[in-house]
């Protein structure tokens, strides 16, 4: 086993040489070919972007490079030599360090302990050596690494810096960053881009995985586009340096989807707004060790309106959604639904009055994976007639209802008795949406509705959200995807550390200005213009 805490960052490979490669790699999972005969080379001294939408195969490639999976066909190469990376240990030993999309730090350990994790259990951690090294890294890359802090207390952005620091402590040739900007503000993402550049200049091979086109252009030297498991094409250094952002984005879209329809901001017909349906006044909830407390949250949503809530993940979005739905107790403030005070009403009562909540956690909270689709459609109405009479189940009525829902929302499922866990993410989402919209829905709260879906389902979901609003629903759209908010919302509020600071009027025709304004608010700066 390597002595992880070595002190040099030198790359034995000449700059520009191939650090890591895939040669005709294929990987299959039950029912799907995740990676199909892909060959590509990652060179030192470059930031190489792997671009593709959800499901294109990027995570699988990362998994193989990190030693979590083996290719079914083909092989990997390191420094030109073929290798089999049988475990994360071997991957690390080959100089490949991976920062995954979800933080892979142990929250109850200190930062220092997380840095030395993975070393043999009989050894003593070399504290002095690591301390010295960290000071160097902090200077060189501007990383913040508080060695004695409890890791779980830090923000996600700070934890990411620690993961990068951990990668740099080891003898790295290759640094892989998987969807690393999803937890960052626009400014934070730019800082990360800067860091990647500096690392590449030092001779590291940096692999940046993303599905965001502008980041691919801004941070990458070379872009490989993945489409449904295949390598659809590459944009190399030379080409990239000659293209403007718009040209590059066009080319990326062409490779990803085969058309040259760019992601132009969809201009949707404006909607008439009706009466205020949801009124939230100075809402506050109690916080806990790992949970943000809400304070002073106030806003209104009218019929036909989509109010967006933007913010970095973990600033209270989930808590706000739960407080509105009745799953979280409120310590101050009020919630009114069409004039009726529901601040202390139960989940069931709010639902009956028309407040619906579509959670972001489809499988772990929104549904019971091993129950059938039918049971899941009535999960929030257990015991309620006509599906139950005197507490006894009426299976025929439930199936009929489920079949109707499957029809109306085009859910792809073998039958209504299939366990919902067998369906794809997009189809589960459709079932949940159908469930929330059944009966008399008046206000719908969406939390990250398109997270993890592929492009087609994302577009369909967004269209549906728009249509619901058109039909008169009041919609609260909580999302970490700025593009989505700019496309759909009438007004956008920003939540920062549990407070809703300001609400902006949305202008989809000027997306980059909106981005900047919202980005500023996300880090607590004052907006450039007056607010709505």
């Amino acid at each position: 086993m390597n002595d992880r805490a070595t002190t040099s960052l030198t790359s034995p490979l000449a700059n520009g040489g191939e650090a890591v490669g895939l040669v005709n790699v294929t990987k299959r999972f039950p029912g799907v070919v995740a990676v199909d005969d892909v060959s590509l080379g990652i060179r030192s001294g470059e930031v190489h972007v792997l671009l593709g939408e959800n499901g294109a195969g990027k995570s699988t490639i990362v998994g193989m490079l990190a030693g979590l999976q083996l290719p079914d066909e083909g092989h990997l190469t390191v420094g030109g030599r073929p290798v089999r990376l049988m475990s994360p240990d071997e991957s690390l030993g080959a100089g490949i360090n991976t920062v995954f999309q979800h933080v892979m730090l142990v929250p109850t350990l200190t930062v220092f302990e997380n840095l030395v994790l993975g070393d043999a259990w009989w050894r003593r951690p070399p504290r002095a050596k690591i301390k010295r090294r960290i000071i160097e890294l902090q200077r060189e890359f501007g990383l913040k690494v508080p060695l004695d802090a409890i890791t779980g207390d830090l923000s996600l952005g700070e934890q990411q810096q620690i993961e990068i620091a951990r990668a740099l402590l080891r003898d790295s040739h290759v640094l892989i960053l998987d969807e690393a900007t999803s937890m960052l503000t626009p400014q934070g993402a730019d800082e990360l881009g800067e860091r990647m550049r500096r690392l590449a200049e030092r001779g590291l091979a940096v692999v940046f995985i993303t599905h965001k086109l502008s980041e691919a252009y801004r941070f990458g030297d070379r872009i490989s586009v993945l489409k449904q498991g295949c390598l659809a094409g590459e944009i190399d250094r030379a080409m990239l340096s000659q293209m403007s952002e718009k040209q590059a984005v066009d080319e990326m879209v062409r490779l990803m989807f085969g058309t040259s329809d760019t992601a132009a901001p969809m201009v949707r017909p404006s909607r008439d707004l009706g009466q205020v349906r949801l009124c939230v006044t100075k809402l506050a909830t109690a916080g806990a060790a790992e949970e943000m407390a809400l304070s002073d949250v106030s806003f209104e949503v009218s019929s036909g309106e989509i109010l967006g809530i933007a913010g970095i993940d973990g600033n209270g979005q989930k808590q706000m959604a739960e407080a509105l739905a009745g799953q979280r107790p409120v310590i101050a403030g009020a919630v009114e639904l069409e004039g009726r005070d529901i601040t202390f009403a139960s989940v069931g009562m709010r639902r009956n009055l028309g407040l619906r909540y579509l959670t972001d956690d489809r499988l772990m909270e929104g549904s019971v994976g091993m129950f059938s689709v039918s049971d899941n459609t009535v999960l929030k109405e257990i015991g309620v007639p006509p599906y139950w009479t005197y507490g006894v189940e009426r299976p025929l009525k439930i199936s009929a209802h489920a079949r109707g829902l499957i029809d109306r929302f085009s859910v792809h499922t073998p039958s209504e008795t299939t366990p919902i866990g067998h369906l794809s993410g997009g189809n589960i989402q459709k079932v949940l949406l159908g469930r929330e919209l059944s009966g008399e829905a008046r206000v719908v709260v969406f939390n990250k509705p398109t997270y993890g879906l592929d492009m087609q389902n994302i577009a369909a979901s967004r269209a549906r959200i728009h249509k619901i609003a058109e039909d008169g629903m009041a919609v609260l759209l909580i999302s970490t995807d700025l593009d989505e908010l700019i496309e759909l919302a009438d007004r956008i509020a920003v939540i920062d550390r549990g407070r809703v600071c300001s609400i902006l009027k949305n202008d989809p025709s000027r997306p980059s200005e909106m981005r900047t304004d919202i980005g500023r608010l996300m880090v607590g700066e004052a907006p450039a213009e007056a607010v709505a």
Partner: protein, 363 residues
Amino acid sequence: MSVSGTQETQSTKESANGPLGEARHVRFLFLTIGPIIAALITSGLVLVAFGINPITYYTFVMQKGLFSGLGLEQTLTRMAPLLFLAAGLIVSFRAGIWNLGIDGQFLLGAVASAALAPALLGVVQGWLMLLLGFALAALVGAIWSILPALLRAYQGVNEIITTLMMTFLGVSLANVLVKLIFLDPDTTVPQTRTLPVVDRLPRLFDTTISSGLIWALGAVLLVHLVMTRTAFGLKLRTVGANPLAAAHAGLSVPRLTTAVFALSAGFAGLAGASEILGVNGNVPADWNPAYGLMVIPLVFLARFHGVGSIVLVFFYSALLIGSESAARRVGVPQDFTLVLVATLLIFLGLAEWLDHRRRKGSG
């Protein structure tokens, strides 16, 4: 909950076919009969290692437990407390709760009914006395589960430790009650006052089978129906399958959790009452048949299904009766049944794991 730690094998209304397209029946056999046969063979090998012929042993046990008139009656009588316990465990496991306190709840229920019934003799009618005895036993059993229930429901304290501790406490408390408070002064052996045979639960027709069996069968079937066909049952199953989803759906998880404990422990108390009011008539000091732990594997093997549990409890009872006799005649201690049940549990887990692997591998 499942032995293999996976979620899939817990039966939904329609379990998918195996990967080779074989019928559900084949897969069902593999998952249920397979482990039984494997367990019989492995335990048989253990007997061989001790110089006992397993065929002789098994046939003897089956003869004594099933094929002799008296043995069959004893088997059916023995089923009663086990079935009540199974009912309680089905409720508990389907709701995702590990009620390992059933032995303590059983004993205290037994003591409660043993104390009340003789005291009511002559004061109220026979059937009322029995009814009250059962009711008190259920109540006492339920009360004994309050502490673990509240700790789990409102503080999130792991119920495995709390229920285990309550079992230890319950066994000692039962002894204290028998030796100090409800002691029968007229006998030399320390025990509670004996309920005369004529006043106990009536026998079925001309046999020696206690009618407690009928009530116990009813209990298991009732529990099964409630869990699979009613709103209450679905609520409990939701809490057991995914507490987060249950909260999201507006169910009160703490209240349902407490209800599960009360029901499960109540059935355990009924089991104790049926043993006293139907068979023994009194509780001797230091008595603890520890039926609870043995019923757990049976309920798992039956996948928490009511009829399945009844069938398995029947065969297990036959095994118990037969092995009691075999201990004297063939020289194999009754504890052999522990080995059999343990191997059954392990092979059940392996069968589920194999099944899970095959289904994953072919999607």
